[in-house]
Every structure is written in structure tokens, then in C-alpha cells.
């Protein structure tokens, strides 16, 4: 990779780890040996793995260089729809790293971990207040695991009523994790279409809902960025047939302080703390996906649960109807500290965060109207969805346009999702982007739309200003090279 001396410093090339180093180097200071060597049974002894030996400087330069090829929220606007790439406050990192938390063993006797248990107990109450739900488990490690826990709770609920149900209604706009999570529980997803306004109608649900159907999985606001305005009526229909309403709360950032999820008829809801509650996304995780339920479903929540007993917090397993455990310990505790700190920093201003997130999305929607085709021309919530319909005449696709957007220094929106919009461009600015940044983004998007007409080849050959040009994904999949 290094084509000439100095290339790593100048043109930002960096070899793979094992293309560097020299045997006998070490990048780590190992605590002193103060005991004798013990014989180790020969038949159990393996050969050391082929790890490169690197110095500390080698390692530091390697990862510093790699980090420079990445784009994060701290680098610039990252309007990735349905992912809520809001600013990740630095104080939260500091607090999650406090030695009392970061060095805590999860099996400490309870009187030695009161601080962590108190934080979890309080965070559950805070999330219950924000959502309007009754009880919360912080255990699921990410949104999809929260969905799974939620589906298992629905399964346990039906089982407790001696009812065996085989199907679940999933809208065509749902995240892929929804049908995948339902399938693990043995439910067959039954697809329901949204109407020409992009929302579900009570009639379409009534036509599908029967006593073989465990319930419905809705995302609200849905992935078109629209509020499911018939949600209460849909809930009534589902409940009448004995089903439950599951809500994917990935888009909760639109609704804090405004909508009461309990009042909308939702029985089970999951949250993504790394989205709505400001946890950093870590290049793909770790996340945290608490599951929230209405009162009579509390008995099914994962164990152990933090309970208060005689002025102390303890972890209790005394919930015989629980779905069990979904995590080896209590979930992504480090992410919980960040969410707790965020909620305490914001307080009631969480409502303003949602208002501004929705304002930013609607502003973008209005300002880009005309430059791009608006899939559903209605007031949106925290994200808006365009498509490449207007650009197809110039043989330019959504992919071409967002690759070009990178050359303008913006991370692309989510693309080709939701599936109901051909060539979808799903923009979620979040509330932490200022008007100036958003105006720059709008300007860049308009420039791309203009280039699509004037110079489409520019888009097809984009990006030109990133570390690499467009990558060959087809051959990557055809002959996979997954290790070096």
C-alpha cells in the first residue's frame, strides 16, 4: 500500500496491521511478574497466534490514521435517516469512564454496587416518564434485541392466556429487524401496506387482524417520517381480537414531551438509547435497547430486575413469569450511564429537542421540495423521505447523488429505505444541527440536483474526494476476502 517513502504521512496510506511490525517488539507494558513460572501441561499448550509484534508508536499511528478516514458526528452533519445521529455530549463519556463504573465487576455483592443499581433504577423511571409506559427493562443490548425481548413478552402474554398465535402484522415500511425478530419467536410476519398518504389505515388492519394473530409491530413515527395518525384506532382493533401492539421506538426522538406512547395504545415499546438518548453509535455499536411495557405486562420483563428493598437496591430474580435473560449481565451499562447523564442534562427540555428535530426535518423538506421528488407530500416528523424520481431521466440514481454529496463533505442520508419508496433518500437532521449547517446541506443537495442535469457523469464517478473511489461491492461478495 505504501507506494513511496513518506506516503503514510502525505497521502494517507496505512498498511494493514500485519504488514507492519517486527517480532520481539511490544506495544504494551505488562504488569510485573512477581511469582514463579508454573509448568503448563504440554498437551494443552498451543502455538501462539500469528499476531504482529508492534511498538506503541506503531499502534497509535495506525489507529490515528484509520480514524482520519472516518466521518462521524464530530466531523460533520450525518443525516442518516432512522439512526438519529445527534451530537454525543463529551461529559457523558467522562462520566461513563469514572472508575467506580468502568472498573465495577457485575457480580459485586449488592451493597458494593449501590451506585450502579441506583442509576439503573432511576433511569428506568426517567424512561417511563418520557415514554408514558409503566415499566422498563434496560437489559436488551441493542434495538433489535429490545424487539426480540418485546416479541417474547407478547408470546409469554398469549401463553399465559393459553392462547397460541402464529402470525404478526408488520407494515411494509418496517425496519428489517422487525420481521427478523418476530421470526425468531416463531411468528409469521404478515405484511400490511400503508395507504397513499404513507400511513396505516384501520380498515387494512381490521381485514388482517384475527385470533391467530399475536398483534402488530408498528414504528411510530414510521420510516417515512410520518406520524401514524390512526394508531389509537388500530390499537383498538388489535386489542379487540386479543392482540397486542408493539411499537418500534427507534424514532422516539420526534415525540418526547409531546406524545404519550401509553395513550396511543402501545403495549410494548423499545427504545434505542444510542439514538434518542445521545449514546455515541461507535461505528455500529454498542447500543442499548430498553424494552418498556404497560402495567400488566411488567411481570414478563427480563430478569434480574433492580428493586428497592429496605432502602437498598437489589437485583431480584423473583419474577416467575419472566421471559428470562437476554444478556449475560444487565445490558450495556456504559451506554446507560450516558443516557442517564443526557436526560439529567436536558430535563424537560427534551421536549424542545423533539420540536427542533421536527422543525429541522420540515425545513429541509420545504427547502428541497422541487429539487427532489417528495415521496409523500405531508407534514413530517423528525425525518423526510425524497426519491430520485426526478433525476432518473438523466440516468442518475440515488446512489450516484449521495456519493457526490460526500464530495461536499456531508455524510449521506439513509438510502433505498424504506422499501416502499423507489430510490428513497431518507434525511434525519436531528435537533443538534444549526440552521447554518442545514442551509449548507440544502445548498449541497441542490448543487447535486443541478449537477445531475448538467453533468451527470460527475455524479456517476463520485466520490473523488474521499480516501477511496467507489468500491467494487460485487466482487467483494462474489469471492469474499474476510481475513488477511
Amino acid at each position: 500500500m505504501t507506494r513511496f517513502p513518506g506516503a503514510t504521512g502525505l497521502v494517507l496510506n496505512e498498511p494493514l496491521l500485519w504488514e507492519k511490525g517486527k517480532q520481539g517488539r511490544s506495544g504494551m507494558s505488562i504488569p510485573p511478574r512477581d511469582v514463579d513460572r508454573s509448568p503448563f501441561p504440554e498437551e494443552l499448550l498451543g502455538t501462539p497466534p500469528e499476531f504482529p509484534d508492534l511498538s506503541e508508536v506503531d499502534v497509535v499511528r495506525h489507529y490515528t490514521r484509520l480514524s482520519q478516514w472516518n466521518f462521524g458526528v464530530d466531523t460533520g452533519m450525518y443525516p442518516l435517516g432512522s439512526c438519529t445521529m445527534k451530537y454525543n455530549p463529551k461529559i457523558n463519556e467522562k462520566l461513563a469512564g469514572l472508575p467506580g463504573f468502568s472498573k465495577a465487576h457485575p457480580l459485586l455483592p449488592h451493597h458494593l454496587c449501590q451506585g450502579a443499581l441506583a442509576l439503573m433504577f432511576e433511569l428506568e423511571r426517567l424512561l417511563a416518564e418520557v415514554t408514558g409506559m409503566h415499566a422498563v427493562s434496560l437489559q436488551p443490548a441493542a434495538g433489535a434485541q429490545g424487539e426480540l425481548a418485546g416479541m417474547l413478552i407478547i408470546h409469554a402474554y398469549h401463553k399465559s392466556r393459553n392462547s397460541q398465535r402464529s402470525k404478526i402484522i408488520v407494515p411494509d415500511t418496517a425496519h428489517g429487524t422487525n420481521p427478523a425478530s418476530a421470526a425468531i419467536c416463531g411468528y409469521r410476519p404478515v405484511k400490511v401496506k400503508s395507504n397513499e398518504q404513507g400511513v396505516l389505515t384501520p380498515e387494512s388492519i381490521a381485514a388482517l387482524m384475527d385470533e391467530e394473530t399475536a398483534g402488530i409491530m408498528v414504528t411510530n413515527p414510521n420510516t417515512l417520517g410520518l406520524f401514524e395518525e390512526h394508531i389509537s384506532e388500530i390499537g383498538r382493533i388489535v386489542h379487540e381480537k386479543g392482540g397486542l401492539v408493539y411499537c418500534d421506538g427507534a424514532n422516539m426522538n420526534a415525540l418526547m414531551g409531546i406524545v404519550d406512547m401509553g395513550k396511543t395504545g402501545v403495549d410494548v415499546l423499545h427504545l434505542n438509547l444510542h439514538k434518542t438518548f445521545s449514546g455515541p453509535h461507535g461505528g455500529g455499536g454498542p447500543g442499548s435497547g430498553p424494552v418498556c411495557v404497560r402495567k400488566d405486562l411488567e411481570r414478563f420483563l427480563p430478569v434480574p430486575r433492580v428493586v428497592e428493598q429496605e432502602g437498598q437496591y437489589v437485583l431480584s430474580e423473583q419474577f416467575p413469569e419472566t421471559i428470562g435473560k437476554v444478556h449475560a449481565f444487565y445490558g450495556s451499562f456504559g451506554v446507560l450511564v450516558r443516557a442517564y447523564s443526557y436526560i439529567l442534562s436536558m430535563g424537560p427540555e427534551l421536549k424542545r429537542a423533539s420540536q427542533l428535530a421536527v422543525l429541522n426535518a420540515n425545513y429541509i423538506k420545504e427547502r428541497l421540495r422541487g429539487a427532489f421528488h417528495l415521496a409523500y407530500d405531508r407534514p413530517c416528523m423528525h425525518e423526510c423521505v425524497f426519491s430520485d424520481k426526478l433525476q432518473r431521466a438523466h440516468k442518475v440514481t440515488t446512489l450516484d447523488m449521495v456519493k457526490r454529496l460526500m464530495d461536499y463533505g456531508f455524510h449521506p442520508p439513509t438510502i433505498y429505505f424504506p422499501l416502499v419508496v423507489e430510490g428513497a433518500i431518507m434525511i434525519e437532521p436531528t435537533e443538534t444541527e444549526s440552521k447554518e449547517n442545514i442551509d449548507l446541506f440544502i445548498e449541497a443537495m441542490k448543487a447535486v440536483a443541478e449537477e445531475a442535469v448538467q453533468n451527470p457523469e460527475l455524479l456517476r464517478s463520485a466520490p473523488t474526494r474521499c480516501k477511496v473511489r467507489r468500491l467494487d461491492e460485487t466482487s467483494a461478495a462474489r469471492s469474499p476476502c474476510l481475513t488477511g
Binding site: 497466534p49 499476531f51 465487576h105 455499536g285 427542533l356 449521506p412 474476510l482 481475513t483
Partner: protein, 443 residues
């Protein structure tokens, strides 16, 4: 509020551009029946200073080093983390990005994960590793589901010496699937009793943990032989991957899937999470792997680059037919593990592993000298069981008061092991600390 950049003027201008009168009017599509009846009943916002006091006081109510000397392991291990790893992990280009859906702008994460996959495959002796799952427990559940998919059989045999929490998570994942989980008992030497397997037919997988929950190193080769005989896949799981700095790798002994918890590789214990679900398999099963995979490719100019690949296994493409529902994984933890493995190198890894083993052996010897019984004779790595007897609970309390947490009582997980304690010693325990423990126990 410092995270909200809008001035009143901005809000007014933007509302005008959208043709809406007020912020409240933006929510006209949410019917009144769905609205909150009252405002958020949350405490008033705290500034950074007050927040530090508040959260700091919670963090102060925890039993951690240096005030406490903790001999707990059991799936969470106190290891030394080099300053360089923590520092590099703080690079917010890594931490504030998301899943590398746009590879041209995410080569940092992609190359780091490709390197992680490679190092994990080498450590475990497997062909291929994924970009991570959540933790050791979900990794095992995913591995057993994968074995069911591959073999099209629905029964799995799971050693009783696999971490109890991992087994419970498997039970949760399998609760609604109808797959059967047979539990294998253990022998008096602290290893899994594989003899029961001959009576089980139609097995998709045999799962063992090594080192197991009692700290004992399993005879993985013997497990592989039985698995072959039964035409089942061998799943080797672990909670302490540093052991493979000394031990033969799962792959070299015939594992079809190797998976477990990677917290030991440079991650803080953080009260149990986030950890790192490590997951590795054979190339012939690659299309059945759960989770993300990064692959090497070239760009338009023929330069090396990396992309997410084989996505047709995954939920965003395959939906209900996906190999797993996982989307967000533990990517940043995987990058931390790669940084840690890169810092150690092959030489350092062996040295740290040997130090863990030798220190644990030291304590074991000293305890035997004082008359404590080591009930299981199979070799161990950095954890082992001591039978202190039923009257040890008073000593346990006394030690807690002196700032020592002398291991985990096993009775709640294995009722037959009342009076048995699981102790863990890593490279951070000093001889002096262990001498103190021995002195306190025998006094």
C-alpha cells in the same frame, strides 16, 4: 441548552419557511388523543458541574480497586488496559460514526474491523470471524441457532459447565422455537461428562466452554471426536479469550464454531456491559453466519478498500429469512479488542496469558498449603474452585469488610457446590495481595 443551537430568530425563520405558525403546530398530525396531558415531569436540567457531582457520587458508591481487591471472575475480568488503547478509542471519528453503510467515508472503521476479524480468526484458529455480536451469551445463542440452520436438526447438547447466564440466554432465545436443549452433567474432575451424548440422537450441536465456568480447561479434542461421531457441529464457547494465549485454539481442536465474550481484550468491566460477542466459524458456513462481515475489495482505481459484504444474510435485505435479527452490534468494542491485540502482539499475548496462569497457580498453591481443598483436578487458567466449607460465609463477610471480595459462591448456580467458591486471579493481582488474602482466610 448547549446542545441545541437554535436561536429564537432561527426558529422563527425556519417556521416561516415551513409555513407553520408555531413549534406546537408541527405536530398537527398527532391526534389529541395521543398527546401527553402534562409536561415532562423531569428534574430541571443540570449543568456539567452539578451533573459531575451527582453522577460522581453514584460512581463513588461502588466497590472497585484500589479500595477493593476483587477475586471475582465468572465472565468479567479485571485486566490491565494500556493507556494507548483508551486514548485511541476516544478518537471521536470512530466513536461518533455509525455502521459503515457508505464505505468511501468509513474506511477507518472498515479496515479496523477487517483487522479485528483477522486477529480473532487467528486467535481462535478459525477461518473467518464476524464484526461482533453483543456479548458472550448472545454469541452462544446465535451459534446454536446457526447449527440448527446448517444441520436442519433441532436438538442441541449444552455442557452444564457453560456460564449459567449464557445458558439462560440460550433458553430465552430457544423458548419459542421448539428446539430442544439437553444439558450435559460434569465429571468429578471439573470437566464435562461427554458419555451421555451416546444416548442422544439427532443432535445439531454440542457446546462446551473452555476454560469452563469452574475454570477448568476442557478436553476439546474429545468433544470434537464425539461431535464428529454424532455428525453434530462442535461449538466451543469461552468467557476468557486471553486463555488462548496459552491454550490450543478451538479451531485447531476441531471446533466448527468458536464464540464467546471478548471483554478481557481491552474493555473495561463496566458493570457487565457493553462487552464483545466474538463469533468465528468455518468458511464453508460463511453464508450462515449471523451479523456483519467486512471484506476486502478494490476501488475504481484499483486501490485496496473495504466494504460490508455478504449482506444478503442480514435482516435489512432478507428480513424474516435473515440468519439473525442483529443490526447494531458492538463495533467500537471490537475496535478496542483489535487495538489491544495489536498492542500485545504474539509475544505479549503469551506473556500476559502465562502471567494469569502463574499468578492463579500461586494462589492455588498457597491456599492448598493452608488446608483449603481444590475439588476439581483438571488444569485451570486464571480461575479455579476452592472448597472452603459451609462455615466460610462468616469469613467472607469479614473479608468484605476489609475490602476483599474473595470470589463467587457457587451455590446459587450449582446447589451441590455449597461452600465452593470460584476465585479469579489476573495479571493485575500482586503476590502481596494474594498473601494478604491467604493470611486473612487462615486467621
Amino acid at each position: 441548552m448547549r446542545y441545541l443551537p437554535h436561536t429564537e430568530e432561527d426558529v422563527t425563520t425556519m417556521l416561516q419557511a415551513t409555513g407553520v405558525e408555531s413549534l406546537d403546530d408541527l405536530f398537527a398530525t398527532a391526534p389529541d388523543s395521543c398527546r401527553r396531558e402534562r409536561g415532562l415531569n423531569l428534574p430541571e436540567p443540570l449543568g456539567e458541574f452539578e451533573l459531575c457531582e451527582r453522577v460522581g457520587s453514584l460512581a463513588g458508591r461502588m466497590g472497585v480497586s484500589p479500595e477493593y481487591t476483587v477475586y471475582l471472575g465468572a465472565g468479567s475480568y479485571e485486566h490491565f488496559i494500556p493507556a494507548s488503547v483508551s486514548y485511541l478509542l476516544g478518537r471521536s471519528e470512530f466513536s461518533t460514526s455509525y455502521t459503515p453503510y457508505q464505505p468511501e467515508m468509513s474506511q477507518g472503521t472498515l479496515q479496523a474491523i477487517y483487522e479485528y476479524q483477522t486477529l480473532v480468526a487467528r486467535l481462535l484458529g478459525m477461518d473467518v470471524a464476524n464484526a461482533s455480536v453483543y456479548d458472550g451469551a448472545s454469541a452462544l445463542a446465535e451459534a446454536l441457532s446457526m447449527a440448527v440452520r446448517i444441520t436442519k436438526r433441532d436438538k442441541v447438547a449444552v455442557s452444564n459447565l457453560i456460564h449459567p447466564a449464557y445458558r439462560r440466554v440460550v433458553q430465552t432465545y430457544f423458548e419459542t422455537t421448539g428446539h430442544e436443549v439437553a444439558q450435559l452433567p460434569y465429571l468429578s474432575n471439573g470437566r464435562t461428562d461427554l458419555s451421555e451424548l451416546d444416548r442422544l440422537e439427532g443432535l445439531a450441536a454440542l457446546a462446551v466452554q473452555s476454560p469452563n465456568f469452574l475454570g477448568c480447561i476442557e478436553d476439546v479434542q474429545a468433544a470434537a471426536d464425539v461431535a464428529r461421531r454424532k455428525q453434530a457441529l462442535l461449538v466451543v464457547t469461552f468467557s476468557e479469550p486471553l486463555a488462548y494465549g496459552l491454550l490450543k485454539s478451538p479451531g485447531s481442536q476441531g471446533a466448527d464454531i468458536a464464540c464467546g465474550e471478548g471483554q478481557s481484550l481491552g474493555l473495561p468491566q463496566s458493570f457487565g456491559g457493553p462487552g464483545l460477542g466474538m463469533f468465528a466459524g468455518k468458511m464453508e458456513h460463511v453464508r450462515n453466519l449471523p451479523g456483519r462481515l467486512v471484506g476486502q475489495t478494490t476501488d475504481k482505481d484499483g486501490n485496496r478498500g473495504f466494504v460490508l459484504t455478504l449482506a444478503t444474510r442480514e435482516q435489512h435485505i432478507r428480513r424474516e429469512k435473515a440468519t439473525s435479527n442483529i443490526c447494531t452490534n458492538n463495533s467500537l468494542c471490537a475496535v478496542a479488542a483489535a487495538m489491544y491485540m495489536a498492542s500485545l502482539g504474539a509475544t505479549g499475548l503469551r506473556e500476559v496469558a502465562a502471567l494469569n496462569r502463574d499468578k492463579a497457580e500461586y494462589l492455588k498453591r498457597r491456599l492448598i498449603e493452608t488446608g483449603a481443598e481444590i475439588p476439581f483436578e483438571a488444569p485451570t487458567f486464571n480461575e479455579f474452585v476452592v472448597k472452603f466449607g459451609d462455615d466460610f460465609s462468616a469469613t467472607y463477610e469479614r473479608l468484605l469488610n476489609k475490602g476483599i471480595v474473595p470470589g463467587l459462591h457457587l451455590a446459587s448456580h450449582y446447589p451441590e457446590l455449597t461452600g465452593h467458591y470460584l476465585l479469579c486471579v489476573t495479571e493485575v493481582r500482586t503476590k502481596a495481595q494474594m498473601d494478604t488474602l491467604v493470611k486473612e482466610i487462615s486467621s
